[in-house]
Symmetry: C4
Subunit: 298 residues, 4 copies
């Protein structure tokens, strides 16, 4: 099963390590929450800088200001990285963890830019760190319901795999067919190009950079579009069914034994006999949704 909540490395043994660890890796103290806010702020600043960096026309003092801010962000990221290294029990394990690699990827570009000036993509890598926001939200318990949905979908992973396999097969066959039918003179230069067209068509994106010109090709295109129209219903149906099921199951939970799924008019838990909370319709309905969210996180 997928787990959620705190899954970071352990804190080091010394008291200052414990204290720093609480601030950096956890978010249940005011200092920890403050650190989270500062971290998200710095990450967003880094994203804005990467975006501004991508524009060609910025020159003069403005460019130098941006440069300065970039060094600030790189400095803050480096400080944080060192701090994280210092307070965990096994630094190597943090360095090689997913978040450790993301953190490293976010500060390296600043230094590599000294060696390879003008490498615009270096700055862009930093944008990866935006993923940290999800970890912060997860620590703060905001992602509880989402993890639950993801783990419910995980139960359908076999069905999802079969769906993806069918989609891939369809794209392979249709891409090959359109390549055979239309050929290089209409832009379908190879089977992979045909597959690219099949993806564009079956997902109903329809850029229009590759379109069939022959009658047979147009017939095939119609078929692919209608099939795409039909199978878009499959992922939609899977997710909807899960959300509906989740909604029906999470309605009421026994305070005594924790079991869910009681009928809307049951007054006692059918497992342990404790009195059940009143149905949602009679509570302050304001709290209903957040309540079910809370239940999931505890």
């Amino acid at each position: 099963m997928l787990k959620h909540g705190h899954t970071g490395p352990e804190a080091g043994p010394r008291p200052w390590q414990q204290r720093a660890y609480t601030i950096i890796f956890l978010s249940d103290t005011p200092a920890g929450r403050g650190f989270d806010v500062a971290l998200i702020g710095t990450i967003l600043l880094g994203v804005v800088l990467a975006v501004l960096d991508s524009f060609d026309g910025i020159v003069g003092p403005l460019e130098q200001g941006l440069q300065g801010l970039e060094w600030l962000v790189t400095g803050l990221f480096t400080l944080e990285y060192g701090w994280r290294l210092a307070c965990v029990r096994r630094p190597s394990r943090y360095v090689l963890s997913f978040w450790g690699l993301v953190d490293l990827a976010a500060l390296l570009p600043g230094y590599l830019a000294l060696l390879f000036p003008g490498a615009i993509f270096l700055s862009a890598i930093r944008i990866l760190r935006i993923l940290r926001i999800f970890q912060v939200l997860n620590l703060a318990g905001y992602l509880g319901a989402e993890w639950h949905l993801v783990s419910t979908l995980w139960h359908s992973r076999q069905r999802i795999l079969v769906f993806l396999l069918s989609l891939s097969t369809l794209i392979c066959l249709m891409g090959t067919l359109i390549f055979v039918i239309e050929g290089p003179e209409h832009g379908f230069t190879s089977i992979p190009t045909g597959m690219y067209w099949a993806v564009i068509t079956v997902t109903t994106v329809g850029y229009g950079d590759l379109v069939p010109h022959s009658v047979l090709g147009k017939l095939l295109a119609c078929l692919v579009m209608l099939v795409g129209y039909a199978i878009i219903a499959v992922p939609s149906g899977l997710v909807t069914a899960k959300v509906v099921g989740q909604q029906l199951n999470d309605q009421r939970r026994c305070g005594g034994c924790g079991h869910q799924g009681h009928a809307a008019d049951a007054r006692f838990c059918r497992r342990c006999g404790s009195a059940l909370p009143l149905p949602q319709g009679r509570r302050a309905s304001d709290r209903a949704a957040s309540h079910s969210a809370d239940q999931e996180t505890h």
Copy 2:
């Protein structure tokens, strides 16, 4: 909680203010309903005029006729605005309210056009007033079921926020990647342009003004399309689950003990034995939309 129904400002103390207020702000008298119809008519006329105004080729007497009608609409809006100002208890509060600002925005263009002739966008602002139609419908009780759906979705606001955050992150990352891969020579002149492409692709709109040309870019495009194909299921699933849940919950509620979830053909509450209200199919069908499921069985 979101509230609906009458949420306007209070009426002034004098009798004529009370009377005028009932006509303008409420719609439970024949005069009030007549005012609403006239208001919607004037608004739609204003919209038609703004649309006609946007055409370049209208000249001569036709143009002068339009001008005349525009002055008529502006006059009517001004009259209505003054009337509203006169009959509320605190005019300043109305002026600064959402609807007060919309009303002002609808009549100002007519006067500003004297100062800045040819400013085509001024006339277009008036189209904003079309929103008033929703307020009129709300007063008339037509939006009840919709407010209920919106407030049910409001319970999922945390999940919607997480969905939007994930979508934004995906768009940021994909926009950056396509900018790094394709670069300015294929039209991806900056990271925001890349993000614009990512939005076009992930929502399956696919204008085709920006398309990847390199093999890596095409692979990324396929990934973005398939991901877009998958996550379109999420908002769909959320709304569907809410509508299904609403349909199941709203079926019938016992007048005696308040319990819901009675079967469509039950005549007595299975909890307290009180007679249940008749299923919807047998009530005035006007109110049918909010509890529709029952009718199907008869």
Copy 3:
């Protein structure tokens, strides 16, 4: 409520009228069913002819063959029209009914083509008659479940109207905004053109014939796309909820009193105590779907 089944005009009084009426307007005799098959065949031949007619390159003997077939179809349609006129009680009522107008529209082009040769669209009008297929299917009882779904959606007509009104307002506002932002130099020549762009974008069709060029226009486009992405969930949710509700309610019907909605494991009707039919999973499941369809129509 929407009604379905036979809604045609009444038969005339004489025996041969009754007999002809049974053949032409009903389909519960072998002759009536044979007539239906011949009618659908002739309609499809007419459609194929209209399609072939639209090609420019058909000349010589092939063209003359097509011409001959067209006269045959026109002749058959005329014969049928006369027959229908002859056997109904009040011919004028049939002529002015929806189907009467469709039937007339299908045979007129053949004669008008003598007066206005080369009027290609005349032949195309005949394609309208394809709608008759639905009437035949309806008579044969094939549309029962569909009428039921349509009539269920009819219960949500208020919600659908509010949805359409919101969509129209959104399209008006966004079309006006893009016209103000982009202006005629980027192809947005008037507010209606802007609205056309808004429809293309919000429905995620994305032809690409009109695209924003300014930064502000692109931002607006992103907003419209994401909103379109979100509200596509609304019609989807409405239809899905209705189909789910229909499925849950139609599961089992008491043979004694006709009530539906019994729990999956109930063995006796909770209304009249008769034994219930076994749940679907244990019947010959082949017949399950058509069986529930039958239930709806009786």
Copy 4:
């Protein structure tokens, strides 16, 4: 009813035929599973070769290496084909079966390429054999739940047919209308071209190779887009309702009396009192999905 599981031809009478049959046609022995893996590997190699073959620029030693690999794949396919022929009771029945034709289509191109060199499409035919993967997965029991969903949709075949018929009629009518409105000077050269445009528009693909230019044509396009937006909800609703229904019905089935629909936390059948199997969440969740598939098939 649709059947699934082993539906191949029967084995021949001799012991070595029985043994070979078990390996090739079944997958419940280690050797059978090994054969399946090798078969899928060879098929994927064939697909990769067909894809590489479609590129124009591959010459020299690389081309010769590909040629060699292609002969290897053709050889392996021939060997397998012969083996299959040898061990079934009635070879002619296998040859004319769906899979027999697919297998033949996959090895013929290799030999035909000797006669018609340069016929690029020959190699592409081999990609059809990718369908064999589904048969292998089916034998291994991976497709159980999918077959169940397909057979549930099969119950809605009448509704699906009516939907397809409505869609076809809509496409016919709209394609004819746009042809009449826009005509050949805007690219709508015939009614089928108009229908191709209607498919592109109604499925929200929107290539942009055919777009309306007249005001009336744009109005029609808006109508088609909005209708397409609405009716995309229908297949989505059908599939979702089926998945939801399947989820609700398949929750747990009593081993004693066969009744379904027990609550997730019930430990005993409410009908006969037998102990129920544990809920999915408490089993090794790895097997959960395939288990529910098993339940369906027994």
